[in-house]
């Protein structure tokens, strides 16, 4: 039988604020345990939380970028449960009237655009970090993360495959990074994802029983976990069983999902309005203020790169992966109107250097001015494309200008026909056997002669001219 897969995703994005959501402690990752805590975030009685305005700003920003309706009046709620990483015995979150509702995010799947609904985006606080010491049967708690601001982004169950789920997550992550509200680091836990999964026979209108899937801490794990869980559901249904509405944990060691053992009561959160926080009213002026400062969004940038610069979709996709790379590209194009050529250099050499080193494009030694100067040297015939690769490498390590490198190393291309003819003549004389074979019709040997010329000139021979001269001289 064929099945429809129904997936809804819940993403928790840790926000790039300096301070926590309800107190002025630092949000920095990796500090010594419990050093970034205070009576508020450690849950002392009698303290009062005060909301960080930037958290609301960031929420509005994401809401606008995902086409949501922004709630005018916002209140917080207490979600009550006992767990050692939660110092107060409740999490401050939003329950009724989340900050953003009824939005959508467009994703690309198999070259078609699909719209995924966003049910809600709300503000809440993160819990502390627990380290389980199995040997001594103890848990160690670090509250540095307790109170770090989160946005929870809940999608509609509009996702129909693992590939769509992947695409949605990539799109959402890119958006968060573009908006500079989250660093999107899944391994470090600043971008976390839970999934609701169910399957139903194809064509059926009612939904199957769903399970909640947790503990997937990389994009690869999300894909594997979803695939596994979908197959598990189908297996149960085909063998005549019933899927239980459980919470499953992905186990990256065994590559399976395992039911999480919890008591039934754990989902009885008894939400009620947080009395310690007064309502937040978001008026039109506030929304307009944020809207004014909204950067160009990834999808718009991609489309503009195709329409304005005439780049292929693929190039536009690669160049807009990060805002800083896209900016680098545009700086180059403003200096030299040769978008495709610039795109080629960025997609190959620039991105390779960035990937190899820990360098950011902002600190890259090859500035847009230098890259453009180098491309100009190619275009006016001073250097060959092959030599340019060496020059790029040199620029990336030393930061010296391409003109200087060319001059110092004597890398100017040989475009003098007479010089090249002398070299070709010598090569023809030294390789009579190859000449013979070539003349008998094996024209692929042209490459051999070109290679010899390049060897003799240390790659400085102008390739087009070299090809032409060899062809002509071998005809004689």
């Amino acid at each position: 039988m064929e099945y429809d897969v129904i997936i809804g995703l819940e993403v928790h994005a840790q926000l790039l604020t300096e301070t926590k959501i309800f107190c002025s402690c630092s949000t920095i990752f990796g500090d010594k345990p419990n050093t970034n805590t205070c009576p508020v975030c450690i849950g002392m009685p009698g303290v009062l939380p005060v909301l960080n305005k930037k958290v609301v700003d960031f929420g509005i920003k994401l809401g606008l970028a995902t086409n949501c309706h922004i709630s005018k009046t916002n209140i917080f709620a207490r979600k009550n449960y006992f767990y050692p990483d939660l110092p107060k015995g409740y999490q401050i979150t939003q329950y009724e009237n989340p900050l953003c509702e009824h939005g959508f995010l467009d994703i690309n799947v198999d070259n078609t655009v699909k719209r995924i609904g966003i049910t809600r985006i709300h503000m809440e606080e993160d819990a502390g970090k627990l380290i389980h010491d199995l040997k001594s049967h103890r848990s160690l708690i670090d509250f540095n993360r307790a109170g770090v601001p989160l946005l929870e982004i809940v999608s509609e169950p509009d996702i129909r495959s693992t590939a769509e789920a992947y695409s949605y997550l990539m799109e959402l992550r890119q958006l968060l990074v573009y908006l500079e509200i989250c660093d999107g680091n899944m391994e470090q836990g600043s971008f976390r994802c839970d999934a609701n999964v169910s399957v139903r026979p194809k064509g059926s209108v009612s939904f199957g029983i769903r399970t909640e899937l947790k503990n997937m801490n990389s994009f690869r794990h999300v894909q594997r976990a979803l695939d596994y869980e979908i197959n598990r559901h189908i297996g149960i249904i085909e063998s005549g069983g019933n899927v239980l509405p459980e919470t499953m944990l992905w186990d990256a060691v065994s590559n399976t999902t395992q039911p999480m053992r919890t008591k039934e009561e754990s989902h009885d959160y008894r939400y009620f309005p947080e009395p310690d926080l007064i309502p937040v009213v978001v008026d039109d002026a506030w929304i307009e203020e944020i809207e004014k400062r909204l950067p160009e969004l990834p999808r718009d940038k991609r489309a503009r790169f195709v329409n304005v610069y005439g780049l292929p979709e693929y190039d536009a996709e690669v160049l807009t992966q990060s805002r800083s790379v896209a900016d680098y590209f545009e700086q180059c194009v403003s200096l030299l109107n040769s978008p495709k050529e610039i795109s080629n250099w960025i997609m190959t050499e620039v991105l390779r250097v960035l990937k190899e080193g820990s360098e950011d494009i902002k600190t890259l030694k090859v500035t847009p001015e230098m890259l453009v100067s180098m491309i100009r040297l190619i275009n006016d015939g001073t250097i060959s494309g092959k030599i340019a690769k060496d020059i790029f490498e040199e620029m990336a390590t030393t930061g010296r200008s391409p003109e200087l490198i060319v001059k110092e190393k004597g890398l100017v291309q040989i475009t003098d026909e007479d010089i090249l003819k002398d070299i070709v003549r010598e090569i023809i004389e030294n390789n009579p056997k190859e000449v013979d074979v070539y003349k008998k019709g094996k024209v692929q040997l042209l490459g051999f002669f070109v290679g010899q010329v390049m060897n003799a000139t240390k790659g400085k021979a102008n390739p087009r001219l070299t090809n032409k001269i060899i062809r002509e001289m071998l005809k004689q």
Partner: protein, 95 residues
């Protein structure tokens, strides 16, 4: 009766409170009388009144995102029953 004995037990369990037989019966009675009293409020016509979450008419008490010193580590750990490497140590709980 608004709630049953099993609901009293459920709520006690959620709050991690252990009740003995006598307490269970007493709380059943007390909780029910509180809920009965709440019925009085239902008699008021509130159709045009938005739900009240706060009694004070102020909004937007916000903080700028400016870092301030946290408390000294030793203060943070004062109430820890046991510490290891500056963490709070508790019996192992795995979700």
């Amino acid at each position: 009766m608004k709630i049953s004995l099993s609901e009293v037990e459920h709520v006690a369990k959620l709050a991690r409170i252990r009740l003995n037989e006598e307490e269970r019966t007493r709380f059943l009675k007390e909780l029910n009388s509180i809920l009965d009293y709440m019925d009085l409020l239902s008699e008021v016509d509130t159709i045009d009144i938005a739900p009240t979450t706060h009694t004070q008419h102020i909004t937007n008490a916000l903080r700028q995102d400016i870092r301030r010193a946290s408390q000294p580590l030793k203060d943070a750990l004062t109430n820890a029953p046991e510490t290891v490497d500056n963490t709070f140590v508790v019996p192992m709980i795995i979700k």
